[in-house]
Structure formats: structure tokens, C-alpha cells
Symmetry: C2
Subunit: 386 residues, 2 copies
Amino acid sequence: MRPVAVVGIGKTPFGAFAGRDLRSLAVEAGEKCLENGHARPSQVEVFFLGNFAGPSFMGQNHLAPYISTALGIQGVPASRVEAACASSGSAFFHAWAEVAAGVYDLALVVGVEKMTSQPTPRVTEILASAGDCAGEIKAGSTFASLFAMIARRHMHQYGTRKEHLSAVAVKNHANGALNPDAHMRKPITLEQALAGKPIADPLNLYDCSLVSDGAAAVLLAPGERAAEFSEKPVRVLGIAQASDYLALDQKEDITTFPAVRRAAEKAYGMAGVGPQDIQLAELHDCFTIAEVIATEDLGFVPRGEGGPFAFEGHTSRGGRIPVNTSGGLKSKGHPVGATGVAQICDLVLQMRCEAGERQVPRHSLGLAQNLGGSGATCVVTILGTV
Amino acid sequence: MRPVAVVGIGKTPFGAFAGRDLRSLAVEAGEKCLENGHARPSQVEVFFLGNFAGPSFMGQNHLAPYISTALGIQGVPASRVEAACASSGSAFFHAWAEVAAGVYDLALVVGVEKMTSQPTPRVTEILASAGDCAGEIKAGSTFASLFAMIARRHMHQYGTRKEHLSAVAVKNHANGALNPDAHMRKPITLEQALAGKPIADPLNLYDCSLVSDGAAAVLLAPGERAAEFSEKPVRVLGIAQASDYLALDQKEDITTFPAVRRAAEKAYGMAGVGPQDIQLAELHDCFTIAEVIATEDLGFVPRGEGGPFAFEGHTSRGGRIPVNTSGGLKSKGHPVGATGVAQICDLVLQMRCEAGERQVPRHSLGLAQNLGGSGATCVVTILGTV
């Protein structure tokens, strides 16, 4: 395996864009990315699309060539990868593998989702199709209710408090307020976060990520060619994808995700680093409890200590390990299929010192964690400028 | 890139199975494949699922870990690849790439679709989502009508006759009648084929592939380890995926598919063979005209001569190059996401001399061609026992 670098990034703003269709979002991100990576469409050797539910949200399937041809990319393999909310993390993983292994030099990965064209009950139903439909979903579960059970159990097992969860929301809103591309740029207080409209107790509105439209793209190249495309290439030091059961009732302990631990272990091993070395992270905060558990499963803190760790400010921009300086899924927004690649873009912005007002001082080793469903898929990526 | 071999195959019968769900079909094919390849689930290092529209047909998304965990495969990357009717061809392509490049040794690829749970108009609508929904589909096109336009133009341009198309149906029905796993095992006469119920003129019922349930699986290993798993490994000599516009109105000439020609050129180049060397083929006969055009785009015959070539029996089991000895999509059935991998399985059966009554005498070099939409995706694979 040879070194691989991210040599271009491109994003649309995230938000609710009534006038935009799925393809125009994906094309905007892809074009920005190619421009950022000083590459022409004809140089792209393989195209990956991360998308969760375009057919259900928009009625359009066969999305990879639909988008690649609109970008002027023709003839090359164009494939859509679906892995629920980890769709573009998984697309990025396979693109990395094929570049690292020398199958291709230049790979373009686009993630996209257009969600706001459907009414909220239908959005909830489409999202629920990432769970076990014959079991937990048929029994009436939604992802909010599944993560509410996880939160309740975490509280029971470790003494995690509602304030701990709300602190994650407050932090991510504060970060998102500084991100010009974020869906919601509204700082909130702990009191506001605690008083949010109940969704699935103990989770309220401020514990849940946003339903958004948006797209993100990255360009990958072998390390030895990175300088052709970027003055500030960022290396993929470690990466792994792992999987587990969809249904919560098949897990031994719902307060931890084996797929996250497994992917992290492999990614750390590949990068030759440990959790104590990571300087900043973009974590999959589909719900506030998910960010708390991610900090534990990734080894940033011991099991059960994620809540106090967040509450005490250690994951804030000035803390020991800034988490979701982009605002995270909570405030930046969560266009499902775009999220994994957007996390990579946001890390790269920090690592290039291009994160503007939300720039953190230590930014040479970053980690992205992209989760699918209630832990059935996880992709962990470690990026470095070192 | 190192040599890669198919070391295990497994299929369910294709048909309309009211009592079977998507997962049980996929698991049956996967288990048969692992048994055939003398491998345990814990040995599988990466899992790929080819599936076109499980969420639309069955309401279940996030299908890769849903199926891999049911097969006892855990922890490893499990990803769904979607590329319309070429979904499992594309999944096979990426699995091959990652084994060939040394990222993994043992890869399991499963293709599956469960279609018959939806009423016919909804099936037609779901299939149409592989076309350009904002353009040709919104204007009322179905895939039958798109391929009818292609057939009409081919007739106009090259003098192809209805009898030529019907000869493809007669041949594929004759082959399917000998295949115990085929959906339809009913030989038909040319008169019957010509007199079928009109669907989209000039295509009638006998020109259209079947709506089926089914699954197929293959196990891939590096060539140097093939003997651990199979006494009759079959080598992947060449393979390529290519893409093109979804919409017919963006193509210069609708009687030929550039993605097929491009994928074929690359696959022949990799294998170091030409069309004249191919001894048998499984081609994507979603409609009879598609098989005729495939024989031309793959270089088996010059442009415009595919119709007479089929009519004169050159693609029959006793002909110059037997095409679709399995019965093809027309008679074996076309569970969309299963088709690409099923083609590989059917070639391997012939190449191992395990094809029973439909066995052909020359079987050391075979080609599979899997098409997505009206030519927007194509995967061409060349297998050899030489």
C-alpha cells in the first residue's frame, strides 16, 4: 500500500434549499473540489458516490453516472456506495483502498443527500429504513427512540446526566455559529438546550441532528503525486471500516459500538498512533449521546466518562481535544450521504489552517468517525500533515 | 496487480417466491458459496453487496451489514454497491480490484433483489428510477419503451428484423429450459415469440426479461491461494467498468453503448485476448435487442450484424459463440441486483464442466457483460481456466 493524500476538497453550504435538486448540489461540490485540487474532469480515473436514499427522497436511482457525467467525467467506473449515514465514509474508504493499492491515481468521492423535499414523517420513515425494519422499526422505533434507549442505558450504567448531553449541543451550536457553511448558526445556552421540545425522552430537539440538503467532495491522489494538485496535501495515515448488527437487541451492550472500536483499533494501528495523539476530531453526533459514546469508543476517555468530559469543556475548541469544530451534524447539518466526506473536508480545512474563526491551534493529526445506523457501520479515518 | 480467482459460487433458484424475503435469499446464496469455496464466514475479509432497489422494493436499506451479519460475518467492511442493473457486476469489480491490489485476500460478493412483492406498475416505476427521471421518465418512458426506441432505430439503421429479435428469445428460452435454477423453463417456437403480447412496439412480451426474486454469490481469492479453496478455480483474466449518460437523448447514436465498448476494450486489453478468442458469453439481455447490440459492441460481430448472427444460430449452444447458455435474463430471470454475479456463477459452472444438460464443449475462456440502465453503466469480465 502506498501513501494517499487528500489533494482537493469542495462543499456546498448545508441547509434547506427548496430550489436545489440532488444533482446540482453534488455537481457544485464536485466542481469546487476539482478546482480546489487543480484537476480537470478528464483526469479523474474513478468516481465514487456516497448516497443513502436518493431513490426514496428524490425518486432517482443509478446516481453515480447521473452525477459523474454531469461533472464531465466519462468512461471511468462510477459507483454508488450505500452504508446508511456512513455512505460517503464508506465510499471514501473504498476510494482510498483503490488509490493506496495502485489501481488508480486520481479518485473523486462525492457525498450528497437532498432530504428537505419530503415532509418530516416521511423523512423519519426513510431514515428508519437504516434500522432493522422487520424488527425494531416494525415495533415502532425511530432512530431518535433507539438513541434515546441508548442514552437512558448510558445514564443508568455510568451516571451520565442530561446536562452532559446538552453540553454537547451547546458546544456544537457554538462551533456551527462560526461556520459559514453550517445549516444552523445559532449559539444556544445550556438552559435553552435543557429546555428543548421533547423528542424521545431523554433526548429533546437540541439533542438531535438536523435534516439537511448538501454535498461534499474530496479528491484523492497517491502521495508521490500530491504536489501536482495541492500545496497543502493532507495524508491519510490510517483508515478502516467495520460492521455489526443493525438491530439494537442483537448487541450485548448498547452503550458501546463494537464496529467503532474495531475500526478505531485498525485505523490507529495503521497510522501508528493512539487516541492520546489525536489533536482534533469530527465525530458522528447524529444525537448528542452518539458523540459522548464516540469519545469513549475511540479511546479519548475511559468507558462511561464521555459525559463529564464534554461537560467540563475538554471537547471544546480550547479544550484537550476539540470535537466537531465544524458544528457537527447537530449544527452544521446532516445531509446523510454527504456527512462522511464533509467530515474529511472539515478536518482538512483545519489542517490547512483555513478554518477561519473556528481554527484551532493544534491541527496536525485529526480523526473522523462516520457511523451508519445505530452502530452497524463505522468508518474511522486518521489524517495527518506530519 | 496479482492474479485473482473465483473459488466459490452459490445461487438460489430464480423465480417468484412469495414466502421468501430479501435477506433469506441473500443468505442462502452466500452460505452455498462459502460451502462451495470451503471457507468459513470468519475467513471473509471484505463483504460487498450488489443491490439495486431493496429500499424501494422492500423498505429495508443499509443492506450490507444486514446481510453480512446474518451470514456470520462480522467486524469487516460490508458495503452495498448500487449501479442499477449492473449493481452486482460493479460490486464484483470493486471486490476484484481490492483483492488484485492486495488489500484483502478473501472477498465475498453477494447480489440480490426481491421484486415480486410489489405490483407490476410499481415494479415498472422502480425500474424506471434507473433512467433520467427528470427527463425521459417524466416524459412517460419506461425501460421497455426506451429499448423499443433503440430497437426501432437499429432496424432503421441496419435492417434488423423482428425475427432476429425473436430468435434471441427462442434461443434463451431453449437454454433456460435446461437450467434447473431458471425462473422460466419453457421452450418457445419462433411463431410464439413473434406473436407475443405487445409491450412497446416492436418489443413484445417475449422480448422482455423477467421480474424475479433471487440471489447469487461468488468468493474471490488471490490466485496463489486459490487451491486452498477450490479444485477448479477460475481466473479473472480481465475486467473493467465504464459509465456514460443515463438519458438516451444525450447519446450520439442509440444503437451502440459507448460504456460497453469502453469496458470491453479495457477488459480485452487486460486479458490479452480479443473477441475472436471468447468461447462463451453471458450477456445482459434485459431486452432481446440488448443482446443483439451487446454482440456488436463486444466485437463478436461487426456493427449492425448482430440480428442476423443470432437468427442464423451462431449464438446457440452449438454455434460459434454460445451466448446465455443459462437462459439469460430472458428465461433464467432478472432479479436486478443479482444478475451481474449470477452471470459470473453461470460462466464458472460451464468452465468447471458442471453445467449439466446445457454444457458446451469449448469453455476455457468466457465473458460476462452486465449493463446498467440504457447503457449508463457496464461491467465486462473475462474469465479463464487457461
